[in-house]
Symmetry: C2
Subunit: 346 residues, 2 copies
DNA sequence: GATTTTAATGTAAACGCTTTCATGTCGATG
DNA sequence: CATCGACATGAAAGCGTTTACATTAAAATC
């Protein structure tokens, strides 16, 4: 039954009811898996529904039932594939429930973000999934007070405790930095992400801690503030390579910037990893495809989406208010963009 | 006004109406930009709405008005960034109208696709945007007969005439092939996409036509049937390079497969472009970032999304049934993965 | 100034469903 | 045999809008 045209004139519960010889209320009960329906009756109704090609009207259900069976997904943009991975996870998980997904792109505009949230929370959707929220402080408190279900994805707040899934950014950056140190690097450049994002802060902290642990003094000039975009990587690498005492390795806070770094390094006629080691963060699909393949810290993006969706559904179904922050482990993926520094190798 | 809590108890048109001292019908008129409202009254209502933080209930509007102000977007998946670009375009265009976007991922399952379409067309959405539809024949006819608005994106049907936006795939492949021929290549390998997709067929035809035009005999063994995924590129390249008389250039039907080709070529210890030239199709963001940067045929993905959204909105608003297939021009982007063949260059 | 048009607003009936409450049926109980 | 409960079903009241249709007020016509 692809699409039942013969019956095109709207099939409502009324039609189904009369076809099955019951009242429309009974049909509604069947739809909603109400226990108080005789199995035989249920069968008859189900059969009629099938025969007529009945499809429930979602808006009507929402209006009457007070829930939309829709969850809202707010993302900054869709450019990098980073978000795509997360959505894939969400989508997979949602396909088990009967929920629909409404997509909103904020284009990194904080105002738009707050506005969307305000509207959505007024009944358009039953729950909210917020990816990489810009400044959620604006609305999280309200959402919480209203008891409106939501889950933050990839946001480490300094704020209160609320449902969120993230990755162990600190740990990931720490491990990667330590790896570089163990290769023999002493001067390691770092390019930050947008510092208004918790994950960017955490990564920087991880880098710093690793240096501290290994008694390598931190040089402010080795830290370049970027914004998670590729040109920042390029600019950052240029700035770092222009230092009198340039780094032998550069750690970019995400893969996209790392690509920019690679570009800059190559432009200068330097080779990766022989002259400069490069490390990224995220493990987006193309990081394996660039040349040389990028050593990076893997974020379990798809899994993050999955887990977030599960959490939200759980809150929705069981009104389980106790779900809290979950951190998924990152993993260092060693590829070919890193090696011991030249002077030491030689 | 981020979110008006003081008034949290549901604000409906009734509340607004009494606050503005008018009947609720008038409020509805204001919302729907009805001409028959005195400007002064409209002002008063608008003011009340703003003060109370009124947000219209979408489900109710849909139910009563018969339209959902939502358009459905059906995509195969979100893995490659290819779709992301298209969505970006759609999203941009939609942000001007008041439409929402519901996202459905079919995971390349034809059955799921038909099913979604069936459901959606029954009132959940006002119109449908179908990206890279799998076998739309199943439902296009029904959709058309029902007069349900939809636009196909990136699908060249052999079928009847219906609203669609695509790219000049044939032309793009022709131009790229011709470029390789002009570089001096005589044996050019070709890796196809999924041949159940119109665009894949067109690209193959473009390749063939270019050969024919330049009187180069077509060798069946130089054509490898792929599926648009990276491993197909790898496998295809291996097969082609294993020929007794291997090609001096390989043209993959999309960038993702071209990456696979590059991988295979490097694995064999051959150099790009010195030993083998590689050309892709799509110009996805990472094609500029791989090494060497990939020569490819640019598809105006973002623009395709934009145009498709415009078309749909146009159909929706003006019931303009005359919109038809639009083909956006492709463009050959020459980067560093191509050069004259070795024997001739040497 | 009485009458017709037109503009502005109000009234009430859908829209398709969920859900509470009331009704009816049946087997079991005293 | 009358009574009680549990279970199955029906009836009806919303849910928050849109949209004919009806009404009123104001402007225009003669």
């Amino acid at each position: 039954m692809i699409m039942n045209d013969k019956f095109s004139p709207k099939i409502t519960i009324f039609e189904v009811a009369s076809a099955a010889g019951v009242s429309f209320a009974t049909v509604s009960r069947v739809i909603n898996h109400d226990a108080h329906v005789k199995p035989e009756t249920r069968e008859r109704v189900l059969d009629a529904m099938h025969r007529l090609g009945y499809v429930a009207n979602r808006q009507a259900r929402s209006l009457a039932g007070g829930k939309s069976n829709t969850i809202g997904l707010l993302v900054p943009d869709l450019g990098t594939g980073y978000i795509g991975e997360i959505i894939r996870g969400i989508d997979t998980e949602l396909s088990w429930s009967e929920m629909d997904l409404i997509l909103y792109t904020t284009h990194r505009t904080a105002a738009k973000e707050a506005n969307y949230v305000a509207n959505l929370a007024r009944g358009m959707v039953d729950g909210l999934l917020l990816v990489l929220p810009r400044n959620p402080v604006d609305y999280i408190e309200t959402l919480t007070r209203r008891n409106f279900p939501f889950v933050l994805i990839d946001h480490q707040g300094i704020e209160e405790n609320c449902p969120a899934v993230g990755a162990t950014n600190w740990q990931g950056a720490y491990t990667a930095t330590e790896y570089l140190i163990q290769l023999g690097h002493k001067r390691i450049g770092f390019i930050t992400g947008s510092m208004d994002l918790g994950c960017a802060v955490d990564r920087l902290q991880g880098y710093r801690s690793a240096l501290r642990t290994h008694h390598i003094p931190e040089s402010p000039e080795l830290i370049y503030e970027g914004n998670f975009f590729q040109p920042d990587g390029y600019a950052g690498a240029c700035a770092l390579l222009d230092l009198k005492d340039p780094p032998t390795a550069i750690f970019a806070s995400n893969d996209v910037m790392a690509m920019g770094v690679m570009d800059a390094v190559r432009t200068r006629g330097l080779r990766i990893p022989d002259d400069i080691s490069v490390v990224g963060f995220d493990n987006i699909p193309q990081s394996a495809m660039v040349y040389p393949p990028l050593t990076t810290v893997q974020q379990p993006l798809e899994q993050m989406g999955r887990v977030a969706a599960q959490m939200l559904i759980n809150i929705l179904k069981n009104n389980d208010k106790d779900t809290n922050r979950i951190e998924l482990p990152t993993e260092l993926i060693i590829r070919s963009s890193t090696s011991p520094p030249k002077d030491r190798a030689g």
